[in-house]
C-alpha cells in the first residue's frame, strides 16, 4: 500500500454496467431454460398453520397439480368435484370468448382500447370461485375472469367498454378499468400498483372490526418494481393483515421481459422471505394449483396467521393491449412454446381424462359462449358504441365531490348541461 495508491485502486478492474436482456428476441428461438420448473406433484404442502421460517424452500419450487397427461397429482391436489371444474372451464372459456370479441370490436372502431388476458384465465377464475362473495379483490386489468366467475352481467361490461349510455361507470373510465363492488371487484385505475397496498388497508380494516372478510390483490411482474408492492408487503407483514398478495408473472411487461423487474436474480415469490411472509410459486396455468394455493393462503388469512405472497407463473399469450404488436420485441412462436401450456386446454384434458367431459361437449360449450357474447355485444351496439352514444354530459361533472362545489356548478352551466 502506498499513499498514491492507498488500497490498490490502480489494479482494480474497471466497473461494468449490467443491463439484462431476454433469452430471445424476434428471429431467435424461444427459450425458457432460465426459469425453474418443478414436475407436477413435486412440491411439499406444509400445514397452513406452520411458521414462515419452516417454508423458505417454497418460493423456489413450482407448485403444480396437473401433470402432462392431465392427471391431478401430489399433495396440493384440492380434490375438486367435476361440477366445480366444469364451471371453472366455462368461466375461462367465457373470458377468452369475450376477449376475442371485444378485441375485434376495438379493431372495428367500436371502442378506444382493450386488453386480453389470454393464457392467464385460470388465475382470476379459480380465485374468484374459491373465495367468498364478501371478500374483496383488488384487480388488475388482466383478471376479468373474476367477474365472469361471479356471473357479472355481460351487457354492463360491454356498455362500459363502449362508454355508452348504459355504462355503469358513467363514461368516466377507459375500457375495462372497471369497478363492481357487489362482485368483490375493487375500482381499477390506469396507474399500476397503487391498489396493492390499499388491499392491505382493506384487510386491516376487516381485522380491526373483527369481521371475517379477507382481501386479495394482484400486480403484474413488471409492477413489482413500484414502491407500492414493497409497501404492501411491509404493511401486510407488520400488521399480519388477512390478505392474499398475488403477482401474475406473465413473463412480459409490455416489451420488457421479467428480468427487467428483477427476475434474473431471484423469483418473485422469494421476495416474501425478506418480509417474513410465506411465498408460494405456483403454476398459474393450472386451475387446480391456483385453487389449492388460494385455499392454503386463505386459511392462513382467516386464522390470523397473516398474509401470503403468491407468484403465479404464467405467460401473456396475446399482445399487451390493442395498442401493441408483440412480434416487434419477442419471437412470434414464443407463446406456443410456453412450457406450462394453456390453462383451458389443460383443464379440459383433465376433465376428459376423468371421463367428465368430451371434445364434443367442449365444442358445443364454446359455441354457446360465443353466442352469448355475440348477443350481449349486439345489445350493447344497439345502445351505441363509443362516440355514438354516451351517458348524459352532466355526468362529467358529478362525483368529483359528494356535493358539487361552485366551480363545477358554474362550469356545468357554462357548458349548458
Amino acid at each position: 500500500m502506498s499513499p498514491q495508491d492507498p488500497i490498490g485502486a490502480s489494479s482494480r478492474p474497471p466497473l461494468q454496467l449490467h443491463i439484462p436482456e431476454p433469452p430471445a428476441r424476434p428471429g431467435q428461438a424461444p427459450r425458457f431454460d432460465h426459469l425453474p420448473f418443478s414436475p407436477a406433484g413435486a412440491i411439499r404442502r406444509p400445514d397452513p398453520g406452520v411458521a414462515e421460517p419452516e417454508m423458505r424452500d417454497l418460493p423456489y419450487g413450482l407448485i403444480r397439480v396437473l401433470d402432462d397427461e392431465g392427471r391431478a397429482v401430489g399433495p396440493w391436489d384440492p380434490g375438486l368435484d367435476a361440477e366445480t371444474l366444469r364451471r371453472g372451464l366455462k368461466v375461462m372459456a367465457q373470458t377468452r370468448a369475450f376477449d376475442d370479441r371485444m378485441f375485434r370490436a376495438q379493431r372495428q372502431g367500436k371502442t378506444s382500447f382493450y386488453m386480453k388476458s389470454t393464457g392467464e384465465e385460470a388465475i382470476g377464475a379459480a380465485q374468484s370461485m374459491m373465495l367468498d362473495r364478501d371478500d374483496m379483490c383488488f384487480p388488475t386489468y388482466r383478471v376479468l375472469s373474476w367477474l365472469w366467475a361471479r356471473d357479472y352481467p355481460m351487457l354492463d361490461l360491454v356498455n362500459q367498454i363502449f362508454s355508452n349510455e348504459g355504462d355503469p361507470l358513467k363514461g368516466r373510465q377507459l375500457p375495462i378499468l372497471f369497478s363492481a363492488r357487489d362482485y368483490g371487484f375493487y375500482s381499477l385505475s390506469g396507474n399500476l400498483g397503487t391498489r396493492f397496498s390499499q388491499a392491505v388497508g382493506w384487510a386491516m380494516a376487516s381485522a380491526y372490526r373483527g369481521d371475517t372478510k379477507i382481501a386479495l390483490a394482484y400486480v403484474g411482474d413488471g409492477t413489482t418494481a413500484e414502491g407500492d408492492f414493497h409497501e404492501a408487503l411491509t404493511f401486510a407483514a407488520v400488521y399480519r393483515a388477512p390478505v392474499i398478495l398475488c403477482v401474475t408473472n406473465n413473463q412480459w411487461a409490455i416489451s420488457s421481459y421479467a428480468g427487467i423487474a428483477g427476475a434474473e436474480s431471484t423469483t418473485f415469490a422469494a421476495k416474501a422471505i425478506a418480509y417474513g411472509l410465506p411465498g408460494l410459486r405456483v403454476d398459474g396455468n393450472d386451475f387446480l394449483a391456483v385453487w389449492a394455493a388460494t385455499v392454503w393462503a386463505a386459511e392462513r388469512a382467516r386464522t390470523n396467521k397473516g398474509a401470503t405472497l403468491i407468484e403465479f407463473v404464467t405467460y401473456r399469450a396475446a399482445g399487451h393491449s390493442t395498442s401493441d404488436d408483440p412480434t416487434r420485441y419477442r419471437p412470434a412462436e414464443e407463446a406456443a412454446c410456453w412450457p406450462l401450456g394453456d390453462p383451458i386446454e389443460r383443464l379440459k384434458t383433465h376433465l376428459i381424462a376423468r371421463g367428465e367431459w368430451s371434445a364434443e361437449r367442449h365444442t358445443q360449450m364454446e359455441a354457446e359462449l360465443a353466442d352469448g357474447v355475440r348477443a350481449a355485444v349486439k345489445e350493447g351496439e344497439r345502445i351505441g358504441t363509443l362516440g355514438q352514444s354516451k351517458p348524459p354530459v352532466r355526468q362529467m361533472f358529478e362525483d368529483v365531490f359528494k356535493e358539487p362545489d361552485w366551480r363545477v356548478l358554474e362550469q356545468r352551466r357554462e357548458l349548458g348541461v
Binding site: I19, K170, L177, S189, N191, L192, K390, M396, R407
Partner: protein
C-alpha cells in the same frame, strides 16, 4: 432540409446528443429494444448500444432517482416517463431532490437531468393517459418545464434541455406527435409534412428555453398557449374573426415575460388557453402576471379557457377538451367589454 414529424424530430434530438456526448444516456420503460410506446427512442439502442439506451423497471420513482444520481456523478441522463400521468410516483424525487440539490448543497451537487414525458389529451386515453400536470411542476422552484408545439421546436428545445445543467421536465403533447391537431376532431388530421414547423435540420441546433414565439401577430387581443393548444388557438382565432396575437410560450419555466407583456400592452386584452383543469392551473399564474404588469393597458378582464375542474373523462373527450369554439366564444366576449 428534411421534413420531420414530432416523433422523428425528438428522436433526432436524442440521436444527435448521444452522438456528440457519451455522457448522454436514455432510459425508461420500454424505451430500449422496443423504442418506446410512442416510438420516440426507436433505433437508439441499436445505434448507440445497450448501455446507452435501455429499459428500466416499472418504477418512476426509481427512474428519476437513478437519473439524479447519474446526473450528480456527471452524466446527462434523459429519462422517459411513459405517460405524464405516471410521473407522480416520482414526484418526491423531482420536488424534494432534483429541484433542490444544487441549492441545498451550496452548489456542490446538481441534477442535469431531462425528464421527457408524453402528456395531454385528445386521444381517448381516459383519466390516466390524458392529463396535463404542467402547473404542479411550474409551482416547484428549481424545475424547468418545457412544452413544444411543433417538430422544429421539439428538437431544438430538447437539445437545449439536455444541455441545460438544471432539471428539465419536457412534456410532449402526444396529440400532435403525428400532426398539428387543431381541435377539430371530426376533420382529417393534417400531417406535419404539409404544416409549418416541420422543416427540421438533421444536425445540432437549439431553441433557447424561455423564449416564446409570436405565432400570429394581431392588434385586438393576445392569446397565450403552449403545446397542442397553439394549434387549437390558431383555428379558434380564425373562427372568432378577432385580430388576435397568438403567443406560443414554448417553456413555462423559464417564462418569457417580456414577450407576453409587450403583446398585452399592445392589444389590451388577454385570453389564456390550456388543456389542464382551470382551478390552480398555470393560467392562474399567467393571469396574475399580466394583471400585475399590464393593468392600466387592459380593456377587459383577462380570460381563461381550460379543461373543466373534473378528472379527464373517457366518454366526454370532446366535451372536456377546450376546443376552438370555446376560445372563439371567449374572444368574442372580451371584444364586447
Amino acid at each position: 432540409m428534411p421534413k420531420m414529424d414530432m416523433i422523428q424530430a425528438l428522436n433526432s434530438a436524442l440521436d444527435v446528443m448521444m452522438s456528440r456526448d457519451p455522457d448522454v444516456l436514455v432510459f425508461g420503460e420500454d424505451v430500449g429494444y422496443f423504442g418506446g410506446v410512442f416510438r420516440v427512442t426507436d433505433g437508439l439502442q441499436r445505434k448507440h448500444g445497450l448501455k446507452r439506451c435501455f429499459d428500466t423497471p416499472i418504477s418512476e420513482g426509481g427512474i428519476i432517482a437513478t437519473a439524479i444520481g447519474m446526473g450528480a456523478y456527471g452524466l446527462r441522463p434523459v429519462a422517459e416517463i411513459q405517460f405524464a400521468d405516471y410521473i407522480l410516483p416520482a414526484f418526491d424525487q423531482l420536488v424534494s431532490e432534483a429541484a433542490r440539490l444544487r441549492y441545498r448543497s451550496g452548489g456542490e451537487f446538481w441534477a442535469p437531468i431531462t425528464v421527457r414525458s408524453p402528456y395531454g389529451g385528445g386521444i381517448f386515453g381516459g383519466q390516466t393517459h390524458s392529463q396535463s400536470p404542467e402547473a404542479i411542476f411550474a409551482h416547484v422552484t428549481g424545475l424547468k418545464t418545457v412544452i413544444p408545439s411543433n417538430p422544429y421546436d421539439a428538437k431544438g428545445l430538447l437539445i437545449a434541455s439536455i444541455e441545460d445543467d438544471d432539471p428539465v421536465i419536457f412534456l410532449e403533447p402526444k396529440r400532435i406527435y403525428n400532426g398539428p391537431f387543431d381541435g377539430h376532431h371530426d376533420r382529417a388530421l393534417k400531417t406535419w409534412a404539409e404544416s409549418p414547423g416541420s422543416d427540421v435540420p438533421e444536425g445540432h441546433y437549439t431553441v433557447p428555453l424561455g423564449k416564446a414565439a409570436v405565432v400570429r401577430e394581431g392588434r385586438e387581443a393576445t392569446v397565450l398557449a403552449y403545446g397542442t393548444m397553439v394549434h387549437v388557438a390558431k383555428s379558434g382565432i380564425e373562427e372568432s374573426g378577432v385580430d388576435a396575437e397568438l403567443i406560443d410560450l414554448r417553456s413555462i419555466v423559464p417564462l418569457d415575460i417580456d414577450t407576453i407583456v409587450a403583446s398585452v400592452r399592445k392589444t389590451g386584452r388577454c385570453i389564456i388557453l390550456h388543456e389542464a383543469s382551470r382551478f390552480g392551473g398555470f393560467g392562474g399564474e399567467l393571469s396574475s402576471l399580466v394583471q400585475e404588469r399590464c393593468f392600466y393597458h387592459l380593456k377587459s378582464p383577462i380570460g381563461r379557457v381550460a379543461g373543466w375542474d373534473t378528472p379527464y373523462p373517457h366518454a366526454f373527450e370532446w366535451d372536456y377538451f377546450p376546443g376552438p369554439a370555446r376560445l372563439a366564444a371567449a374572444l368574442k366576449r372580451v371584444m364586447e367589454d
